[in-house]
């Protein structure tokens, strides 16, 4: 329990009136923006980055981001339940049963099981994060360049191969991200690459520009191309019955899925395996298979909201393990968090637990606080969030374009970057239109340069000897896992072919 003194110091830093105010502002703004249809946590954080530019104290800013994140996540589940428009793939599972519950007049119960489940999962997985962070950071100290290279390969391959419906399209998205990562001055030799003679590109392609372009501009253009078939009806909120959000039977049907969702979400988040999409669908499938109320699935079963929502939240604390201890982001949201850290010159990795120890523990403490605030603020304020959902679509999407432009302009102060974001938005539109996944672009952009640098450092140290990538057991294991991740989606077909039987396709979402 050696982490406890550190954690108490962290709470000491967070529980000042000023920082609590930052946390409350973060949770409120995060929910407000996250509730807007089509805006997921990654975009929420990217758009809200400018808010903290002139804050002197990194602790306050990081606390606010923890709040924004928690709020955005909760806001996303509200949208999924009431409007059936999940802002990101991790909320898709929640929307399946949640929207059906809302249509049957059980919106409050669905929102409550999502909120309390998020709180339970968030708290348990933050405890796990507190327990694991220091041992993991100690382990991470042993990582050499070759290991970091292998880890980056594994993270990229896993995210691309395990998420989405087509390997070719996923890998094409990844190539685009890797290409964006190449643009600019090479970090080791100072030579310019793919700058096309423009000084504006020497610094590379900024992550915020890519996120705003793909998620905000691209998404709005896509919505604009199919205005005619938008679901525009918000499921009505039934009248309140005092404080009884959940009936006794709701509680007894919810608590096990919450715990199971947490148990699935945290490890899937902590391993580089594509963030929250996989555990949320696994949780949904599991609850559906196991439930005594199986016949209710498809028409609003509370287990189908409780499990995936818990898995979604737990996986984020899981994702923080590799992010904080190794500096490796494994989801789009984690990549934006990394960008937020870097604005304050905080470089996650094993050293962070040595040098920046108070900062890291303040961040972890703020995750606990954010969870509590979320529960306290959100259930009573649910009427406000429903009002936000009723903003007319043209007003909403015109505002998103205004804020997207503002975000990039405020981050960069350069009109070139704004136009670049628009250009990337056009790419995002076509990606959305032809069903290319977005997350591999973001991770390619962040992990690509990291991967290349470690590859070249490893080879440089080994005098160009390629056996450096197979001589250490850790490197070998990580690289083998990467190969495995590519093969897994093909495995059922291969096995079936060997057996000569009927090929059975296994797809995550096909279970309904």
């Amino acid at each position: 329990m050696s982490f406890l003194p550190n954690l108490f110091d962290g709470f000491g830093a967070v529980l000042t009136p000023e920082n609590l105010l930052f946390a409350a502002i973060g949770v409120t703004i995060g929910t407000l923006v996250g509730v807007l249809p089509g805006i997921g946590p990654a975009l929420t954080i990217a758009l809200l980055l400018p808010l903290t530019f002139n804050m002197n104290d990194p602790v306050g800013a990081l606390i606010m981001f923890a709040g924004i994140y928690a709020g955005a996540m909760y806001g996303g589940s509200t949208t999924s339940i009431l409007l059936n428009t999940p802002g990101e793939s991790a909320s898709v599972a929640t929307s399946i049963e949640g929207y059906q519950m809302a249509r049957r007049g059980r919106a409050r119960a669905a929102l409550a099981t999502a909120a309390i489940g998020s709180f339970v999962a968030g708290t348990i997985s933050t405890v796990l994060l507190s327990l694991l962070a220091v041992p993991m950071a100690k382990f991470a100290v042993m990582f050499r360049a070759a290991d970091y290279f292998a880890l980056a390969v594994l993270a990229l391959v896993a995210v691309t191969a395990l998420v989405g419906r087509s390997m070719v399209r996923g890998l094409m998205s990844l190539s685009l991200g890797l290409f964006f990562g190449l643009v600019g001055i090479d970090s080791l030799t100072g030579q310019a690459r793919f700058t096309f003679g423009s000084v504006n590109l020497l610094d590379g392609v900024n992550m915020v520009v890519v996120i705003v372009g793909l998620f905000a501009i691209g998404e709005t253009l896509y919505i604009a191309s199919r205005l005619r078939d938008l679901p525009a009806t918000v499921a009505p909120l039934e009248p309140a019955r005092g404080f009884a959000w959940l009936t006794r039977s709701d509680w007894s049907r919810s608590w096990r899925p919450w715990l199971r969702g947490t148990a699935l979400g945290f490890p899937f988040g902590a391993l580089p395996s594509g963030g929250a999409e996989l555990p949320t669908f696994l949780s949904y499938t599991y609850e559906k298979k196991r439930s005594r109320n199986r016949e209710e699935f498809g028409s609003g079963a509370i287990e189908g909201v409780a499990g995936p929502e818990a898995a979604n939240n737990a996986s984020f604390s899981g994702v923080l393990v590799p992010l904080l201890t190794l500096g490796i982001p494994t989801s789009a949201t984690a990549a934006v968090m990394l960008a937020a850290f870097q604005i304050f010159n905080v470089q996650p990795g094993p050293d962070l637990f040595e040098e920046g120890s108070p900062l890291v523990w303040a961040l972890i403490a703020s995750l606990y606080v954010g969870n509590v605030l979320l529960l306290l603020l959100n259930l009573p304020l649910i009427r406000v969030w429903v009002k936000v959902l009723q903003v007319p679509r043209p007003v909403l999407y015109a505002s998103i374009l205004v804020f997207a432009t503002l975000g990039v302009y405020a981050v960069s102060g350069s009109i070139f970057q704004v136009l670049l974001a628009y250009g990337i938005g056009v790419i995002g539109f076509f990606m959305r239109r032809y069903d290319f996944p977005i997350a591999p672009v973001i991770l390619g952009l962040i992990l690509g340069p990291m991967m290349e640098e470690q590859f070249r450092r490893a080879l440089g140290l080994a005098n160009g000897d390629f056996t450096v990538f197979v001589s250490r057991p850790l490197t070998t294991v990580l690289l083998s896992l990467a190969v495995l991740a590519v093969l897994v989606p093909y495995a059922p077909r291969v096995v079936a072919r060997i057996r000569g039987g009927q090929a059975t396709k296994i797809a995550l979402a096909e279970d309904d």
Binding site: M172, Q191, V395, I415
Partner: protein, 167 residues
């Protein structure tokens, strides 16, 4: 699925997209090769990664193009293609670029430029008659741009072009 009767034309979109992506990839690959030839290539130098990434890009674009060519007509794509409107996104792009250029290269300033852009964008995205919503759009546009301007310049110390308004 494979033996459905072909109804309508084959999906053309993915083929065009694949072609464009392939051409872009070939252009980038050519540049990467040019750089590698000019400056020499070592395994731990800066010219290897561009070659790998652009070759991968070209290979994947080729695979995608082949898939798109083999795709049966009237698969999932055909139906949604009919419902895609290209005019609204294109018009929005024109409005966006115009907005950015006005912000940077004229003295109009943040508030008027944003308000006008907002009204135009909301109009493009709306399917209701102008007179029903124009008043609402104008009020929201002015309110939003003023609040953003004041919040950013007064509270966050981030400068936005003041322009012609005395604020």
């Amino acid at each position: 699925m494979a033996d459905t009767v072909p109804s309508g034309r084959a999906p053309i979109g993915p083929r065009v997209l694949g072609g464009v992506v392939l051409l872009a990839g070939l252009g980038l690959l050519a540049q990467a090769i040019g750089e590698a030839v000019e400056r020499g290539i070592t395994v731990d130098g800066p010219r290897l990664a561009p070659l790998i990434v652009t070759s991968g890009w070209v290979a994947l674009a080729t695979a995608y193009l082949i898939q798109a060519w083999k795709a049966k007509p009237a698969q999932d794509d055909g139906e949604s293609a009919a419902r895609t409107s290209w005019f609204v996104p294109a018009a929005l792009m024109v409005a966006l670029v115009g907005y950015a250029l006005v912000l940077e290269y004229t003295v109009v300033g943040y508030v008027p430029a944003t308000a006008v852009f907002f009204v135009v964008a909301a109009r493009l995205l709306s399917s209701r008659p102008v007179r029903e919503v124009i008043l609402r759009d104008i009020v929201v546009a002015l309110g939003l741009s003023l609040v953003i301007y004041l919040a950013f310049t007064r509270f966050l110390d981030i400068q936005l072009p003041a322009g012609v308004l005395p604020i």
